[in-house]
């Protein structure tokens, strides 16, 4: 080990980038610029922080705390299983612990930790000062924190969820489960909203806020990976949100989606859940591969197969959505369907294999020094490949039938998830800790924690393969001595404690390093990406002057690149665009907008400062959710009012700030447009993300309708009449008309007389309101009775969806009308943007109402 440690300082030379960064730090920063970016330090002020790096640290810190709690639960379970017929935990407590352990690790640790890591590192890595929607990040954090607390509140009221992290129906229905599942569903719903918010945030940040010159082909692989995962999370989390909403409606409002006695279908839950559940594995795994690529590339001083790694990420992101039923091989799916899923499950190994070979090829012959981050990556490679191999085994249907619900699956999933995510995360912590804290980690504690983690992990989970082959079922609190598996289990328990000790060492290492660690240079590892070009820890504004990029490895100079990263001395167009923001603007936050493909500078984006709106909005949702959980509906109304107040404050246009941004001193000399409309705008891309979310929800609801219908004995069930009267038809027609009017208004804006645009917008708003009112009126007259059958539950859900999306459409259209009448001539780009957003939302509502209506008409 001494030899390994001795090699480390070689990687820590002062380099040109350190020198340049120092010169930046030494330059005089205008106090007004600093004050603009600074996060408040008071207790209340901290609640209003929207800066990406403090929020990233909060996400990671909270996720790590949940991880420790999940780990303690795992150790308790391992004590119970150490030998046969133990009574350390009863069966009920064991059920609760494995439910909370799985839920904590899957929902409260893995994804949020990686979101936090992305929130912190991604803007720096791609050369942006912040993320695209800072307040959305803050809202996402509060939703995550509150959702996690709701999960754990179940312990305090003695109603802990006990139906597994997957909550299969009918076990999770009121017939078999208590209030714990309500805590689970409500908490999970809030965490899902957080995940969706982070997804939109990351996608738009990667597409629009990259440094000038950072083409897609120059983007760090971590950015590629987190971008793909964020895109996936928009679809996967939305599907789960629909599923948990349906479950909660079943449980609290008497809906019948999953009740087979009223025409519901249990397997519908499994389809919806696993359409989220399997991509979730890759949502966790892909960012982890991004970390691996960064670490391997840094210490190998090259990256082999960048193209193939990027393509593998894209292929994985797509194919992961074709695997959901491989969790359902034993549920009686049609044999042909099983084979399609088996084929997809085998084919995804192509992409993962490509990545593994690329990393091995990168290190081959380079003899990278075995520093703790790289050791964790090597540990990942060994463990993940083993997990991948067992994954290929269980992709084969007959084999899966043999080992389904045995400890073989427990071993497989832990090899994939701990190997594929926790080890890379630990590598990432060691890799970026100097950047986060400004301190180097302890010189040898990292080796100790790695050794304990690797040995402990394998001692815990490798024997489980054998236990599975011997037929030990999972999710059972004990086992008979006659199985002769006491030795295996004792080894697993000892291993679990060794694995746990690794994290105690890691915590000790981090605490020691925070206070006594050696001061870190800006680029202690000699890495190639932009986050290492700023001081450690980074200044509050990130980049004094946004960098412009000329290479895939901007901090590594190479023989064929004149300058990998443009400096202020450079006079090319990219550097000139970035230079406009050199220590500017002084009184509002701004970053550069670039083209989504080629990273060409397009505009300047203003960013919001401190705001309590995200917190107030999240508190409103928390109050409403808890009140519904405990059936105190008056308090729920208060929660909704608080939520509405938060949203209104969030969206209400601040005239003073708009004037400051658009007509201030900086705007007068800026050579790029500020806050543009159209595809240059981050809001336009954010809206696209919102449309994907709404579209996915509609697809999930339509699928649910068709799936229940497919296996129903009669349709509409129990002789119900379908909601397809003339008024429903009229509502659809009015939704379409509202969308067309808004489209025409958008088209005429700036081309024809202002009166025409104003008239069309007024007609559109009025029509949208009338359409919504018509749908609600028709629904009231029809009299939805969701408790009567699954059919009625499904059509009610369709209309609830339409009321929600329709209301959003009306609000956006109203906001647009106000902007049009007040600011059409003063700030045309702002009005144009509003017209575009209103048009997109109304088009979606029109399409959705048409689909819902015709699905019902065609099937009844």
């Amino acid at each position: 080990m001494r030899a390994l440690v001795a090699r480390e300082p070689v990687l820590n030379p002062p380099n040109e980038h350190d020198k340049r960064e120092l010169s930046t730090a030494e330059q005089e920063v205008d106090p007004r610029f600093l004050a603009t970016w600074e996060a408040p330090s008071s207790v209340f002020g901290r609640l209003a922080i929207v800066n990406n790096r403090p929020l990233g640290v909060r996400f990671m810190g909270t996720a790590f705390a949940f991880f420790l709690m999940g780990g303690v639960m795992a150790l308790l379970m391992r004590i119970q299983l150490a030998s046969s017929e133990m009574n350390f935990l009863g069966p009920d407590v064991y059920n609760q612990l494995f439910t909370m352990h799985g839920s904590t690790m899957m929902y409260l640790f893995s994804v949020p930790f990686l979101e936090g890591l992305a929130l912190y590192t991604l803007p720096l890595m791609i050369g942006s000062r912040d993320v695209a929607f800072p307040r959305l990040s803050a809202f996402g954090y509060w939703m995550y924190l509150f959702g996690g607390c709701v999960f754990y509140l179940s312990f305090l009221v003695g109603q802990v969820p006990d139906a597994g992290w997957f909550a299969y129906t009918p076990l999770s229905e009121t017939r078999y489960s208590g209030l714990g599942i309500d805590f689970w569903a409500v908490g999970l719903g809030m965490v899902e909203i957080s995940g969706i918010a982070a997804g939109v945030e990351i996608v738009v940040t990667v597409l629009k806020l990259r440094a000038p010159g950072m083409t897609l082909g120059r983007m760090p692989l971590f950015a590629w990976a987190i971008f793909a995962a964020a895109m996936m999370s928009l679809i996967a989390f939305t599907t789960l949100l629909v599923a948990t909403t349906m479950l909660e409606l079943d449980r609290t409002a008497g809906f019948q989606f999953f009740n087979e006695f009223r025409g519901g279908n249990h397997l519908l839950w499994q389809h919806l859940f696993w359409f989220f559940g399997h991509p979730e594995v890759y949502i966790i795994f892909l960012p982890a591969t991004g970390i691996v690529s960064m670490v391997v590339g840094t210490w190998s001083r090259r990256l082999v197969g960048y193209h193939f790694l990027a393509v593998a990420i894209i292929v994985t992101a797509f194919v992961s959505f074709g695997l959901w039923a491989h969790h359902m091989y034993t549920t009686g799916l049609p044999p042909l369907s099983l084979n399609f899923f088996a084929a997809a499950s085998l084919l995804i190994a192509l992409a993962s294999g490509t990545q593994v070979f690329a990393w091995i090829a990168t290190m081959w012959g380079q003899r990278p020094p075995l520093t703790p981050p790289l050791l964790y990556v090597l540990g990942f490679l060994i463990i993940f490949v083993m997990g991948g191999m067992t994954g290929v085994m269980i992709a084969i249907v007959p084999f899966d039938w043999q080992v389904h619900d045995t400890y073989f699956i427990v071993a497989h999933l832990h090899y994939v998830l701990i190997g594929g995510a926790v080890f890379p995360v630990l590598a990432g912590i060691h890799y970026w800790f100097p950047k986060f804290s400004g301190r180097m980690m302890h010189p040898w504690l990292g080796y100790v924690s790695f050794g304990l983690a690797f040995v402990g992990f394998n001692a815990t989970f490798f024997p489980m393969h054998h236990m599975g082959f011997f037929g030990l079922p999972r999710r059972v609190y004990t086992y008979p001595a006659v199985l002769e598996l006491d030795g295996h289990n004792m080894l697993a328990t000892v291993g679990a404690f060794i694995f746990g000790a690794a994290f105690l060492v890691l915590i000790a290492d981090m605490l020691w390093s925070l206070f006594a660690g050696k001061r870190a240079a800006s680029n202690p590892w000699g890495s190639d990406t932009l986050e290492w070009s700023v001081s450690s820890p980074p200044p509050v504004y990130g980049f004094f002057e946004p960098p412009s990029v000329r290479s895939r490895h901007p901090l590594w100079t190479s023989s064929n690149a004149k300058a990998a990263i443009a400096t202020t001395d450079s006079d090319d167009s990219l550097a000139r665009a970035a230079r406009q923001l050199r220590g500017q603007p002084l009184d509002w936050r701004a970053t550069l907008i670039t083209d989504s493909v080629f990273g060409q500078p397009q505009a300047i984006q203003s960013l919001p400062g401190v705001s309590y709106s995200p917190l107030v909005t999240a508190v409103g949702i928390l109050i409403a959710a808890m009140a519904i959980l405990f059936k105190i509906y008056l308090v729920a109304i208060i929660g909704i009012i608080v939520f509405a107040a938060g949203v209104i404050r969030w969206l209400y246009p601040n005239e003073q700030r708009l004037t400051q941004v658009r007509e201030g001193e900086f705007a007068a000399k800026a050579r790029l447009p500020i806050d543009p409309a159209g595809t240059q705008s981050v809001a336009w891309w954010g809206m696209l993300g919102w449309l994907i979310i709404q579209g996915t929800a509609l697809a999930a609801i339509t699928y649910a309708y068709c799936y229940v219908m497919l296996y129903a004995d009669d349709w509409p069930q129990f002789n119900a009449t379908a909601p397809k009267s003339l008024v429903f038809t009229l509502a659809v027609a009015l939704h379409v008309l509202a969308a067309l009017m808004m489209f025409a208004a958008k088209w005429t804006f700036g081309r024809r007389g202002g009166w025409l645009t104003r008239s069309l917008v007024l007609i559109s708003v009025t029509t949208a309101v009338v359409a919504l009112a018509a749908d609600i009126t028709a629904s009231l007259r029809y009299g939805f009775t969701p408790a009567s059958s699954a059919f009625m539950s499904l059509v009610t859900l369709q209309h609830m969806y339409l009321w929600l999306t329709g209301s959003v459409g009306v609000l956006i259209a109203l906001h647009t009308a106000v902007q049009l009448f007040r600011n059409a001539s003063r700030w045309p780009s702002l009005v144009e943007l509003n017209l575009q957003l209103a048009n997109q939302q109304l088009l979606l509502v029109a399409l959705a109402s048409g689909i819902c209506f015709f699905v019902v008409v065609l099937t009844t």
Binding site: T215, G217, V315, V319, G322, S337, A343, A577, D595
Partner: protein, 127 residues
């Protein structure tokens, strides 16, 4: 450009969903018992969507290949980035930056998805 890069993946995803729907819904509806030219309707559906998806992936791959050739012809003028006048409208993407990554990745990606589309269809020949 995005379509070139993602077209094959989108084609596969649509193919996969249709395969699933044919297997699940077609099976329940009894389509596998109806024959046309000795082949059941589910298999006809599978083969049709496969051909369509393959055509889309192939078309996207061909577009990428053609773009790759165009960029190669532009090569001499793109070794140095063309200056952009900030006060004028931004130039078209061609000739501004190095686009090789996208077109090469699109060619490789569409080829992989074409393979996956074909492999995904194989089970139907064993039923």
């Amino acid at each position: 450009m995005w379509w070139m890069l993602l077209g094959g993946g989108i084609a596969w995803f649509i193919q996969f969903l249709v395969l699933y729907l044919l297997a699940e819904f077609g099976g329940v509806a009894g389509w596998h018992e109806r024959l046309l030219l000795g082949v059941d309707m589910v298999s006809w559906g599978v083969l049709s969507i496969t051909v369509a998806a393959l055509a889309v992936a192939g078309w996207c791959g061909w577009l990428a290949k053609r773009a790759s050739q165009e960029f190669r012809e532009l090569e001499p003028s793109t070794t140095e980035a063309t200056p952009i006048e900030l006060d004028t409208e931004l130039p078209a993407w061609k000739g501004v930056v190095d686009p090789h990554f996208l077109v090469q990745s699109a060619v490789v990606g569409n080829a992989i998805f074409a393979f996956i589309i074909v492999a995904q269809t194989l089970p139907v020949f064993f039923f």
